[in-house]
């Protein structure tokens, strides 16, 4: 709550104030930078379920928006974000347990160590996350159309376009073999990203 003197004839701003704009700019900048690692962390905490991780991320962003202050440095924002993410993920697991929803549970110590590993991985990475995304975009452009179609089917928004099952029917092949192909595509993308980043370094 803010309280300040105001003369009645003072116009009440109908546009965003500079403070508002600064707050939004800071928030979006920090969140965009954190999003990949925050998502990765949430994936480890939600049994590998990207959709659940996305829902948790939504809640984390809500709390961050409410609580963050323009005076926060990125490190403050990051620390707070991961604390929220941990809480949200625990709430999600409790809810799944309550509803009897099956999730792939790894033991708590493994979940914790895997979560820490994702954080370490991000901490070791001096590059802004957008650089990796840029490299990934270039690598995706290098895929052949069939590979791209399969990847789109797996990662595009649900309910839009073909699914992996649709492609299996279309190509008269087993779903299992498509997932194997996906595995190979991911492996090649990992290699490709590293190669692109090395090129950037040189």
């Amino acid at each position: 709550m803010i309280s300040k003197p105001l003369h009645l004839d003072q116009a009440i701003a109908s546009e965003l104030t500079r403070d508002d704009e600064a707050k939004i700019a800071r928030f979006t900048e920090y969140l965009a930078e954190l999003r990949p690692v925050l998502s990765s962390f949430l994936v480890t905490q939600t049994g590998g379920d990207s959709n659940a991780a996305g829902d948790c991320l939504q809640e984390v962003a809500l709390v961050l928006w409410k609580k963050h202050d323009v005076s926060w440095a990125f490190e403050d924002f990051r620390r707070y974000a991961f604390r929220c993410a941990g809480i949200e993920a625990r709430a999600y697991r409790r809810k799944c347990h309550r509803l009897g929803k099956r999730i792939v549970y790894l033991a708590p110590d493994v979940i914790e160590s895997l979560g820490n590993e994702t954080l370490e991985l991000a901490a070791m990475d001096p590059l802004p996350s957008r650089r990796r995304l840029d490299a990934l975009r270039i690598c995706l452009d290098g895929l052949d159309p069939l590979q791209r179609e399969l990847l789109d089917a797996r990662y595009e928004k649900e309910g839009v376009g073909k699914t992996v099952i649709d492609i299996a029917k279309e190509r008269s092949c087993k779903i299992e073999s498509l997932y194997k192909r996906l595995e190979r595509i991911r492996t090649s993308l990992q290699g490709c990203i590293l190669k692109r980043l090395k090129e950037l370094q040189t």
Binding site: L16, S40, W65, L136, L182, E183
Partner: protein, 359 residues
């Protein structure tokens, strides 16, 4: 220091298979145990898994770019004393971050102000205060992903969970607004203070302790009620935006009964009923509607004619197909008596069930 965060170590086919199964949600219990052992015992395996998860998240990020939606309500209270005023602002926010349907092109700072579309500010100076509704980003104009919403939930109804994706409501109140003179919760079967049942024939057929009564008077003022819609997500409820349910279908089920308004000139009681999904703010346009002629008289706009007799309880089911178009804002479920109904009519409604279908 290398800018390459980590070199890729050659991994066993088994580990890759298990990690990908984990990420594709295809891991069974035995495979889960195996992965668990590998991750616990082998730091290299943990590192590989973390890298694979990072790639997975990045692929998701590209396919479903970040969408941030901020709704902000401000309540300004201005108090005047000795020529100086004090303004107190209460502010509440709702932010949602979700993938948008289109790729985001790294919006720059100078676009931020344009993202926020200030909603009409309503300033009403009274002793109490000023209301301002404001803001949201241009990005918020994009459709929200329907996959976030698994079910509808209406907190202020008396709800009984039946099964996943379905909530059954007995009407006991409403959250937002109603035409109070013509809408009421009645208690079927309960004696009135003056003794005797209000409408015994009708009430004998309503098993619920509360039902919604809507009436229309001879001036054409008709009862209606509307409620804010919530959606159930994996981790809790979310206030629904029209965009959240754009293109979706909501199946409505409810019990209707028209009492015999005996002893009045309106005993025929053929009322026209409507239900729909409505935008929050004025002009309160509907993004989906369904119109029912309960009686024998014709109603050109009706989607269905029931041809009911008075005191005939009927369960109706219909679909509301949501097409939002340019409309934005919070989503409300509304139902009421159409103003062109014959005057003097009354209708009871209960066991309202809303279900989101065609995911």
């Amino acid at each position: 220091m290398s800018i390459i965060p980590s070199e890729q170590a050659p991994e066993s086919g088994e580990l890759i298979d298990l990690v990908d199964r984990y990420l594709d949600q295809r891991l069974d219990e035995a495979q889960g145990k195996k992965l668990e052992t590998l991750l616990r015992d082998d730091p290299q395996a943990r590192r590989y898994c973390a890298e694979r998860i990072r790639l997975h998240s990045e692929l998701h990020s590209l396919a479903r770019p970040l969408r941030i939606e901020i709704h902000e309500d401000r309540n300004l209270v201005i108090e005047q004393s000795g020529g100086v005023s004090t303004v107190t602002a209460r502010q509440s926010n709702r932010v949602s971050v979700a993938p948008s349907t289109a790729m985001v092109q790294n919006p720059g700072r100078n676009r931020l102000a344009a993202w926020w579309l200030l909603l009409p500010m309503v300033l009403g100076l009274a002793l109490a205060g000023w209301w301002i509704h404001s803001s949201r980003q241009d990005a918020a104009r994009q459709q929200a992903p329907p996959h976030l919403i698994a079910a509808l939930e209406n907190a202020s109804f008396e709800a009984e969970n039946l099964k996943d994706g379905e909530i059954r409501n007995s009407v006991v109140g409403w959250e937002t607004s109603t035409s109070k003179r013509h809408s009421a919760v009645v208690n079927p079967g309960k004696s009135r203070l003056s003794g005797g049942l209000h409408l015994p024939q009708t009430e004998a057929k309503l098993s619920s302790p509360q039902a919604l009564s809507l009436t229309i008077d001879r001036l054409g003022e008709a009862g209606w009620v509307r409620q804010r819609l919530y959606g159930e997500t994996a981790i809790g409820t979310k206030r629904l935006q029209l965009a959240d349910i754009d293109g979706r279908t909501i199946r409505v089920e409810m019990n209707l009964i028209r009492p015999a308004v005996e002893g009045t000139a309106y005993a025929e009681n053929d009322v026209f009923f409507y239900a729909g999904i409505q935008e929050e703010l004025r002009p309160g346009r509907k993004v989906a509607s369904y119109q029912i002629n309960t009686g024998k008289e014709g109603w050109a706009q009706a989607d269905r004619s029931l041809g009911l007799n008075n005191d005939q309880l009927v369960k109706v089911s219909f679909d509301l197909k949501v097409e939002v178009g340019e409309m934005r804002g919070d989503a409300f479920f509304v139902m009421g008596i159409a103003r062109n109904s014959p005057p003097g009519g009354e209708i009871y409604i209960d066991d309202v069930s809303l279900r989101l279908i065609d995911r």
